[in-house]
């Protein structure tokens, strides 16, 4: 990738990467900013070695994911990213820092009841803002299949959250 493409690359991925980090560090803004900055510095330092066969989204996502894992390894030894991802709904940190209202807390708890693949997809699509085409590259599935999966996951959330008829 040429250097003049950096600006576009940054513009496309900045917000998603920030949100990706943000939701994985318990909504702590300063930490999310520091880690996002590190991710882009790392990405740009490695730009010369970028393999165009891999999508830009997958590439930056991998860098961000590894960086967050390293951060957690340093700050909370023994905790891996899967645990961190899975604990979004139950994260006391997140609830406090994000000042969730009742509905949002319910929703996060419901997300915790979804199969992990569905919860990850909902989080990445609706909270972090990845496009289905990008998710297809990152997750390694067809974008149409992901669209259907996301729709079904939302329906599952609805089934979990809908008021029970008495």
């Amino acid at each position: 990738m040429e250097k003049h493409e950096f600006a576009r690359f940054y513009k496309t991925h900045f917000e998603r990467i920030y949100k990706f980090v943000y939701f994985r560090v318990g909504g702590r803004k300063e930490v999310a900013q520091d880690l996002t900055q590190d991710v882009f510095l790392k990405a740009f330092q490695a730009f010369d070695r970028y393999d165009p066969a891999i999508s830009q989204s997958s590439w930056i996502y991998t860098i961000a994911r590894n960086h967050v894992i390293n951060h957690h390894a340093k700050t909370k030894p023994g905790v891996d990213l899967e645990e961190v991802e899975g604990s979004l709904s139950a994260s006391v940190d997140m609830r406090e820092t994000f000042a969730m209202n009742y509905e949002e807390k319910q929703l996060c708890e419901a997300m915790g009841k979804l199969p992990k693949e569905d919860a990850d997809l909902v989080r990445m699509k609706y909270l972090e803002g990845w496009q289905f085409d990008e998710l297809a590259e990152i997750i390694g599935k067809n974008s149409g299949a992901l669209r259907v999966q996301a729709r079904r996951a939302i329906k599952k959330l609805y089934e979990i959250l809908k008021p029970t008829e008495t």
């Binding site: 003049h4 900045f14 996002t36 929703l107 149409g144 669209r147 008021p163």
Partner: protein, 223 residues
């Protein structure tokens, strides 16, 4: 009452609240530029366009179109199913083709987009179907406004927080509307279509609110 639309809306709201600060974005851009990773670029001052020049020229074109044209262009009753709707669309295209700056064109696109949303809202209120062509045009207009607002945002580091936020909302509206329309096309049951149509209807209301907010922010910027 929780609906699947509430769920996507809640998620969108959480996503918006999690968005990075504009100040952080700018600070990081400058840091990357200083490190030589991004081209050094002086972002220009944010300039809000004026409606006046384009308005005068278009008034002239409208007067040439005659009374029918004026009615087609201005009446609230000319909806997609109306015989004069085609005249309205043609006049709007002519309005966009007039010589004018990109900023003026952007404002006109915004005005047209508000009309499409308002028309779709009126059809919904009358329990009439919103034609597919209308949805597509609405989406195309929203994409154009979203792209233009992004370009403005790219060359500006002095836009107000509100202006940036309203742009972001419109960008997000475009994405959400686009997803909903794709989902509607892919829906495989009447129940899915009904749920998605409900979501589309709510989304139209939200687009309308966000566009009004964007317009207000732009007007505030002009002052």
């Amino acid at each position: 009452m929780i609906t699947s639309w509430n769920i996507t809306r809640l998620l969108s709201r959480m996503s918006r609240r999690a968005a990075p600060d504009r100040a952080f974005d700018l600070a990081l851009r400058h840091k990357l530029a200083d490190a030589g990773y991004l081209p050094m670029r002086r972002f220009g001052s944010f300039a809000f366009p004026s409606w006046k020049t384009a308005g005068v020229s278009f008034s002239l074109a409208l007067s040439l179109a005659g009374g029918t044209g004026v009615y087609a262009y201005t009446s609230n009753e000319v909806l997609p199913s109306h015989p004069l709707y085609g005249v309205r669309v043609a006049l709007e295209r002519a309005e966009l083709d007039l010589p004018q700056s990109e900023q003026q064109r952007g404002n006109i696109r915004l005005k047209h987009l508000q009309r499409r949303v308002s028309e779709a809202g009126k059809l919904n209120a009358r329990h009439l179907p919103v034609p597919k062509s209308h949805r597509e045009e609405l989406l195309a207009n929203l994409a154009a406004v979203s792209a233009a607002s992004q370009e403005e945002s790219d060359v500006s580091d002095s836009a107000s927080e509100q202006a940036n936020e309203s742009r972001e909302l419109v960008n997000m509206d475009h994405q959400e509307l686009s997803d909903l329309i794709d989902e509607r096309q892919a829906a495989d049951s009447d129940e899915d279509v009904r749920v998605i149509d409900d979501e589309l209807s709510h989304q139209m209301e939200r687009v309308n609110e966000d566009l009004k907010r964007m317009e207000n922010d732009r007007e505030a910027g002009e002052r």
